[in-house]
């Protein structure tokens, strides 16, 4: 088994074997990241492929300081953002029902109440703009100001999209919860 440093050096020298090992080792994790930004698995796999091409050609820029896995995640997230910008024309396709204001309901959820598959599904069903903002803010931990710059929108848009995304997610989760309790 090669260490991360050996893999990085190998990839920097364009060794096919090192690239293959890197892919085998991290593709599961990175697809987990890409899946959060996509509407379905094929789209996520597209993003994953582009991410790996980027990783292979830029791996020599990885400074070695900081965590390698964090760098990989960042490349994947950036690729997803690029992908989002390419498909900008769909950005405003938000169903009117997604705009409904949501009454305050359950605010707390048990972690083990939902499987990660269910959570992915909830994310995938979100409108693209909501999904971007929610992922970047809630999971990746970007600030609203940074998100606004990344997506080329107003800070307030980022904030309002986040709160609307949260509302939609809450509604979907509650629905899931109700379905379950009826068993």
């Amino acid at each position: 088994m090669m260490s991360d440093q050996q893999i990085i050096d190998g990839c920097a020298n364009h060794e096919r074997k090192a690239q293959q090992i890197l892919y085998d080792k991290y593709s599961h994790f990175l697809l987990g990241v890409c899946m959060r930004y996509a509407t379905d698995k094929p789209e996520a796999e597209d993003i994953l492929q582009d991410s790996f091409l980027k990783i292979f050609s830029n791996i020599k820029d990885f400074s070695g300081t900081g965590s390698f896995i964090g760098w990989l995640r960042k490349v994947a997230v950036n690729t997803a953002i690029t992908h989002y910008h390419k498909n900008l024309k769909y950005r405003y396709h938000v169903d009117i029902e997604d705009y409904v204001s949501v009454e305050a309901g359950v605010t707390s959820f048990e972690e083990d109440y939902f499987t990660s598959d269910e959570l992915y599904q909830v994310l995938n069903e979100l409108p693209t703009g909501y999904r971007m903002v929610f992922n970047l803010y809630a999971v990746e931990g970007y600030k609203h100001k940074e998100i606004a710059e990344i997506l080329g929108v107003d800070t307030n848009t980022s904030k309002s999209q986040y709160s609307r995304a949260k509302a939609v997610i809450r509604e979907k989760l509650e629905k899931l919860g109700k379905l379950r309790s009826s068993y």
Binding site: Y23, S27, H28, F29, A44, L53, F114, Y137, A138
Partner: protein
């Protein structure tokens, strides 16, 4: 646990297995990328390209040698020999000797190639050698002349053979072109057709500081004057030839006129037309009501209001024209109402507002000029908003008095509403300045 925490914990480091085929697809893609990237260690696109270039260039080097050996005489057969004298002025058609291959093959024949002068002095369309007649087309005018250094040398007897030999057998070019016209009115839009034989590139200099490198350019001369257009043709081997023509651009006249009075009352007023045209000698007026005139400044009476388009067409002594149209010149209506913007209130005491030709003359009463009024209400306000005058009789105006007192001089606001005989209502507002003698 909040939604944010839920997703972060659950999905922050979640893993999903990708499609098993994806890995090999990715590796193939990466291999293609790798192939395009330059890498001295590996066989890639650069080596492949290098091999291709080497193969092709080897093929090129080898092939002409074999051709030469196969057809030694074929090159000579294609040469047409003709010669031309370029005389002092421009209007002579000329073709140059193309003697190079003879030189390279046989020095003796090269001397005999000179002086087969085929020459004609030109009419508007001149051609000399039979194969050119088809080229030198119908209505267009052809100018050709040659100032190429090689062609000049060829007129100097036996020297030219040596010259040609020294220059290694240049294939000279000749320059000739056609123009859609040589004179006309500004702005003159011309098409130029390059009728030169084989040429590599050419340059047109239009004499107005403009130039073009197109083969058949078109050009607009905006300003009157004479322009010398020079075409320089560059042959494939660096030789060049020029040809020129003179373009005459006539000045364009300018049609300008004004209609007076600006707001006429028809059919009462006679309309005058003030002519401000320049550079023109002939004038043609079309009043738009079916009448016309050739006078410099005509007068005309229109029977009634209407959307007449008044047009002035002028032409200069050289036949250039310009025109000006005033669309919908008399769109007004025969029913109208208009107010003045100032009047002199009399200090002789109130007059009751009845106005006559006399009071009208000294502007002592504020009243409208009008036609075809059926309903009428006029109110005049002071600056404080007090109604100082009100009437529903169009024949009564304001004498400047309010409750028997002469009002202060200054600005007053008037508002009028009513309707014309046609039934069309009107509302107008404005201000009037009260003056005192």
């Amino acid at each position: 646990m909040s939604i944010r925490e839920l997703f972060r914990h659950k999905l922050g480091n979640a893993e999903i297995a990708p499609d098993p085929l994806l890995g090999s697809k990715l590796m193939r893609k990466q291999a293609r990328k790798e192939f395009i990237r330059f890498n001295p260690v590996r066989f890639n696109a650069y080596y492949l390209g290098g091999i291709l270039v080497a193969t092709i260039s080897a093929g090129i080097i080898l092939s002409p040698q074999s051709k030469k050996q196969d057809h030694p005489s074929s090159l000579n057969q294609s040469i047409s020999v003709s010669n031309v004298v370029s005389s002092e002025s421009k209007q002579i058609s000329a073709v140059q000797p193309e003697s190079q291959e003879q030189n390279s093959t046989n020095q003796n024949t090269s001397e005999s190639t000179q002086k087969k002068p085929a020459l004609e002095i030109k009419g508007p369309s001149v051609s000399n050698s039979p194969q050119r007649t088809t080229e030198e087309v119908k209505k267009n005018i052809v100018y050709t002349s040659i100032t190429d250094s090689i062609s000049k040398s060829s007129f100097q007897g036996g020297q030219s053979a040596e010259m040609n030999k020294l220059k290694g057998g240049f294939k000279s070019v000749d320059a000739s072109f056609e123009i859609s016209a040589t004179k006309g009115c500004a702005p003159l839009h011309l098409n130029f057709y390059n009728k030169s034989g084989s040429l590599d590139s050419c340059r047109w200099v239009f004499g107005d500081e403009g130039y073009s490198i197109e083969k058949n350019p078109d050009w607009i001369f905006d300003v009157e004057g004479e322009y010398k257009v020079v075409l320089t043709v560059f042959g494939p081997d660096g030789s060049q030839a020029t040809s020129s023509a003179v373009i005459t651009v006539f000045p364009k006249p300018l049609a300008r006129f004004e209609i007076a009075p600006e707001k006429p009352v028809l059919p009462k007023d006679e309309i005058r037309f003030f002519n401000y045209s320049t550079n023109a000698v002939h004038f043609n007026w079309d009043f738009g009501d079916g009448n016309s005139s050739d006078l410099f400044e005509p007068r005309h009476r229109f029977d009634k209001f209407g959307n007449y388009n008044v047009r002035l067409k002028v032409s200069s002594d050289l036949g250039c024209t310009d025109s000006m149209i005033v669309m919908n010149a008399f769109f007004g209506s025969e029913y109208f109402i208009d107010f003045p913007n100032a009047f002199f209130a009399s200090n002789q005491g109130p007059t009751g507002g009845f106005y006559s030709a006399k009071s009208d003359e000294s502007s002592q009463v504020f009243h409208p000029v009008f036609s075809g009024i059926t309903e009428y209400q006029l109110r005049i306000f002071s600056k404080l908003g007090i109604v100082v005058f009100e009437t529903s009789d169009v024949n009564v105006g304001w004498d400047g008095y309010f409750k028997g007192q002469l009002c202060d001089p200054g600005v007053y606001i008037w508002k009028v509403r009513g309707s014309f005989r046609s039934g069309e209502p009107f509302i107008k507002m404005g201000n009037v300045t009260l003056l005192r003698n």
